[in-house]
């Protein structure tokens, strides 16, 4: 079902935990749907220097969280915003179709954390882009 890469990031997730005094914190998902991702970012001069997460969810949700935090580290905020769900899934050597929404969640969690960072710094960043909470909204059907 899952690739070896997914299983590795699931069994040995990178960056689990929280960052004290994080510059941006984002939480997406909804317990109703069985996935919640909370992401903490440490940002210095527009560059993400650290990232941590806590996730309630399936194997894919944990693995994508782990991979997403790895991917944002060292990137500028603008670069991080360009990370797509597809890129996260590809970095994990793919996800089963029914689990693609988990990579959406990762993309959304990054955005939410950066949005929070912008807010704290009084910068504006339109609403409505962020995951509404329920995975049905970004559900990818197998066929």
């Amino acid at each position: 079902m899952y690739s070896e890469k997914v299983m590795d990031h699931f069994m040995n997730p990178r960056n689990v935990g929280e960052i004290e005094n994080a510059d941006g914190v984002g939480q997406v998902g909804n317990p109703k749907c069985g996935d919640i991702m909370k992401m903490y970012l440490k940002i210095e001069n527009g560059t993400i220097v650290d990232a941590k997460f806590r996730t309630f969810g399936c194997g894919a949700a944990i693995a994508t969280s782990s991979m997403a935090t790895e991917m944002v580290k060292g990137k500028t905020v603008d670069e991080a915003l360009k990370i797509t769900n597809k890129a996260v899934a590809e970095a994990l050597d793919g996800l089963p179709p029914v689990k693609m929404h988990c990579s959406n969640l990762a993309e959304e969690a990054i955005k939410a954390a950066i949005q929070d960072y912008y807010k704290r710094h009084g910068m504006d960043w339109g609403e409505g882009d962020v995951c509404t909470g329920c995975c049905d909204s970004c559900h990818v059907e197998e066929e």
């Binding site: 929280e18 194997g59 949700a61 929404h101």
Partner: protein
């Protein structure tokens, strides 16, 4: 990973060696079509009739009241659609429960689209159907009551005898999905006033792809599978002779010493339940404390999600499940756990352990050793647990 412990006997079982050995000749030298007139055809026919007698003995009915199908699902589809369409002139109302297997629920939903009305009886926190609610639901249009014998997820065993009595009093057909019960609970269709009963061989150490429907003589039922005149014209399709032989042998073995088997499983289950509840906080047992399948334990561990729990257990060699196997492709939480009143996030975090024949006390020891740290690890990753620890959220 060396240790391999299978704790998912409600999902499926292996085929017992004795069962397989009886099946093998029917694949090779005794392969005749049971409808054929020549000797190897007649041998197949005889093998089927022998199996039919074994099933009849297990359920306490007449052999000719047993019809072989390709699965429990087919038996459920047949019973429910068959009665519905054959008795449309009498009424269009069906009563079932909210915690049925999808083979029943989705069949009922299909019938709703075809103009039938279905009452899905709620259940209490233990998964029990209330007899009063059942009585209240009955109207003069009710043609069928379909209530499962034992639930596949939480193991709750329904008051089948009482339901049968009510159905009989009112002259309504009573079907029970006994896929999880056969081989685990003694069943007597006459004593329980059951009119139709579904079973599936792969739940009691028989092969996959073969089941049966018991149909009490006189029950008006349309055919589900149109075609040849097999099963006395009631169920078409070349008979799966090895499968049927396997079903027959398996049900014979499974009902031979049901009490002994049960008390063994009950001991394993009860110890597991007791110690898990003691060792792991924020945990609840789902299903009825006593009226449950002897091998079934179903827990909810708050703050964590079931799939990741199963994956970690699998990495330790433990095969268990969350919800039912059939819905694992789906993202929705178990309808059964929601029906007993669990909130969504807790319904997502359930673990079903179902014991079988080959399990031992050592298996329970191993689970008790491995499970608590896994739960703890997943909780440490969970934002929900973090909130609880911080006191942000009340539990």
């Amino acid at each position: 990973m060396d240790k391999q412990i299978y704790l998912d006997h409600s999902a499926t079982t292996y085929v017992k060696e004795e069962v397989l050995q009886e099946m093998i000749p029917y694949f090779t030298e005794k392969f005749g079509n049971a409808s054929s007139i020549y000797s190897i055809g007649r041998e197949s026919k005889k093998a089927i009739e022998d199996a039919r007698e074994k099933v009849a003995r297990a359920l306490h009915c007449q052999p000719k009241e047993i019809f072989f199908t390709a699965s429990g699902t087919e038996a459920d589809n047949w019973a429910i659609k068959g009665v519905a369409f054959a008795n449309r002139n009498k009424g269009n109302h069906i009563i079932t429960s909210a915690i049925e297997h999808h083979a029943v629920l989705h069949t009922c939903q299909y019938l709703e689209k075809e103009g039938f009305e279905v009452t899905y009886l709620p259940v209490d926190e233990y998964g029990m159907v209330s007899l009063e609610k059942l009585q209240e639901a009955i109207t003069d249009k009710t043609i069928l009551i379909s209530i499962m014998f034992a639930n596949n997820e939480i193991g709750t065993i329904q008051p089948i005898k009482e339901i049968g009595r009510i159905a009989k009093e009112k002259g309504i057909y009573f079907h029970t999905d006994a896929v999880q019960a056969v081989g685990n609970v003694p069943i007597d269709v006459d004593e329980y006033n059951i009119d139709m009963l579904s079973l599936s061989a792969h739940k009691f150490y028989g092969p996959k792809g073969v089941g049966a429907l018991y149909v009490r003589k006189g029950v008006k039922l349309h055919n589900f599978m149109q075609g040849g005149a097999q099963e006395r014209g009631r169920r078409a399709g070349t008979e799966n002779v090895p499968g049927i032989v396997g079903l027959g042998k398996a049900i014979e073995l499974a009902t031979r010493d049901i009490e002994g088997y049960n008390s063994k499983l009950r001991a394993l289950r009860d110890r597991l339940i007791k110690e898990v509840l003691e060792k792991i906080p924020y945990t609840r047992l789902n299903g009825h404390p006593t009226q449950r399948l002897p091998g079934n334990a179903n827990f909810s561990f708050e703050f964590i999600e079931g799939e990741s729990l199963l994956l970690m257990l699998d990495m330790k060699g433990i095969a268990a499940s969350s919800g039912s196997a059939c819905t694992s492709g789906s993202l929705d939480p178990s309808h059964v756990l929601l029906a007993i009143g669990l909130p969504h996030e807790i319904a997502h975090g359930s673990l079903r352990i179902t014991f079988g024949e080959e399990n031992t006390e050592e298996d329970v020891d191993y689970v008790l050793e491995v499970l608590p740290p896994i739960v703890e690890r997943l909780r440490e990753m969970s934002p929900l647990y973090e909130e609880v620890k911080r006191g942000v959220k009340n539990v």
